[in-house]
Assembly symmetry: C2
Homo-oligomer: 412 residues x 2
Amino acid sequence: MTAMSTMASEYELLTPETVASYIASNPTLAELVDASTLEVAEVGDGNLNLVFLCQDADGRGICLKQALPYVRLVGESWPLTPQRVLAESRSLSVAAAVVPHLVPAYYGTDEDRYVLAMENLFGWEIWRSKLNRGEIHRGVGALLGEYVANLAFSTSLFALDQMEVKQQTAQAINPELCRITEELVFTEPYIEHDNNSFVDELAPEVAALRSDACLRSEVGLLKHRFMTAAEALIHGDLHTGSVMVRSTDGRGDARVIDPEFCYYGPVGFDLGALIGNYLLARGRAAVLYRGAEYCEWVAGLAEETWNAFEANMRRLWPTRVDQTWTDGFLDAWLQQVARDALGFGGCKAIRRIIGLAKVSDIETLPPDEHLRAATMVLRTANTWIKERQQLGGVSAANEVFLEVEAAVMQND
Amino acid sequence: MTAMSTMASEYELLTPETVASYIASNPTLAELVDASTLEVAEVGDGNLNLVFLCQDADGRGICLKQALPYVRLVGESWPLTPQRVLAESRSLSVAAAVVPHLVPAYYGTDEDRYVLAMENLFGWEIWRSKLNRGEIHRGVGALLGEYVANLAFSTSLFALDQMEVKQQTAQAINPELCRITEELVFTEPYIEHDNNSFVDELAPEVAALRSDACLRSEVGLLKHRFMTAAEALIHGDLHTGSVMVRSTDGRGDARVIDPEFCYYGPVGFDLGALIGNYLLARGRAAVLYRGAEYCEWVAGLAEETWNAFEANMRRLWPTRVDQTWTDGFLDAWLQQVARDALGFGGCKAIRRIIGLAKVSDIETLPPDEHLRAATMVLRTANTWIKERQQLGGVSAANEVFLEVEAAVMQND
């Protein structure tokens, strides 16, 4: 059994062998599964944590997630507070109240050993993997817009008294996790940094980005917004690898996971994370010449998510606690969120091409396709960021991509 | 001796008779003045606190400020945490470190009785009173720009590690005081509310403001920014009644007081408070036909403050802790602050005409002049708020006023 030391104290890490006795010793968890017949698999393929999927002989399941005191992707040289599991439990608790159909059931958190227990999502799969295979899951984009809107509304000053929002904002600060985003998303891709990597053929595109003073100042404004705009308790890392998906009778369903980066930030950041990752999937689809049905579906995801977000915000708006916020204000605020979403979406896409923590959408492509897709993503993202004020909304995201795609494909 | 009860506990209020023994019992304060020869005057003419000015036989002085557990302007029916004295001490401590020449010397805070001790500014006077008399104090506008820039820079992520900023932001939340601003500045003037009052002749102007959907949504965006944009530890109430002034050999000097509304908010709010109050002074000067020298000086205050703010930000910029913020970002951020300043300035001016807590600049005018000045202020503020994105900076504030002034004067 490994003992990990943190700034605060040491705590025992779980192993597949110790999970059953851990569950047996916890009355709440012991009721959910039969610990004596438990099968346990450690499947943490993410960047930060241990994840144990457990199933008993009757088919009942549970998922345990234990925070490591360092970044798993990098190793013990990059320490990271395991307290982040408390951030995850904060977000999951809110989501369980307002969108229980869009998150795994939440069973509680062990604050001494930084273990969070939740539903084992049998039969679900990470959305990114399905996108990579070209699978269509209709309606998932809309469900994620619904998720963002409900989390945002219910934790913001639209739903809570201002005193409550300010106390929640203070309690939910998550500086260590935010620092990762600040550095990996908004800073490192635009400078020389050991964390960056890309194929040589992409160097001219990267150099162009880095020497683009306008892009750099716009990315700076977005970073500043990420660091100062405390609008609502956002997920903070809502890419297509943070969504579990399955389809039944042609309708997709979704469960949002991994909200450990949550903090009070700009609502457009969650939408941007989705839109930026849709762009990565779109680039892949384009260079692999996926069929028209799939391409059109992926092309429509950004607007599908936005429309559901907007519809849910407008549905909730009449319930706002302070009725002196006018309808005109909502329109103006939504426009601002849409601009943020395009800008953040661009930043989230660029970091996946240049910076640390690549994505399989692009990394698993053959060399020529990789270069074309990466180029499309960088150029589209650049325009989203710089022209987000003028583009007039998320629906324009698609047109920008189509122009870039045509130019890149023509050059080959 | 009056005992006040708060949510937390009871504490004794000071009176002119008990101040000397209070000072004698505090070793730090007892060194500053001779408590046995102390003369004490209670001069709290503000809206919130008890203020005791003390002087001993040798002419040495001290000022004690004790927070009441309610809003003095309204009475015990409006309770308000005396903890706000801790907010004031937070801001004063920072200012003492970065702009000691622009704040009263700070002698410490008694957290049990909510008493803050500072320099007794003999010979200084509230700036608003001097403006009302038409006195020129050259350079004061620039000093206030210097104050805002240094406070903003030194408490922001430009000067502090992001972890420190987030912890400071959480510790400095000041929801009860912020609520006053949210309600009195951004909400009540635009709706029917018992706190509002204005002469009947102004009713058409007020009705026009309230029915202006564009203005209402822009004020909403500014309120939302005030409630969510945690850029730096701002003063939070920087009107011309929060500035003490005197002149020596034709050069004005300034001391900023009363930062109890401080919290992490948008930097443009402090600049806006100044600019909005310059507008009130300007309206008064216009209708009283003050001499050209005075009018030109008041007309130049907004730009003088802005230019000093910008110059100080640019002077400090090379010392930023994160050098990946580009110079282009600074330009873009300053442009955003200027827009905020115009918008917040408009809101601050309007509330002084319509809402609770009027200002003597306008209230002491004879009826005809009062109406003309109030009309000028409302119309100028309206344009600042709605056109702040297009106006191109604080220098345009003046042109808007000149157009409005000409129209109002012509109609008489």
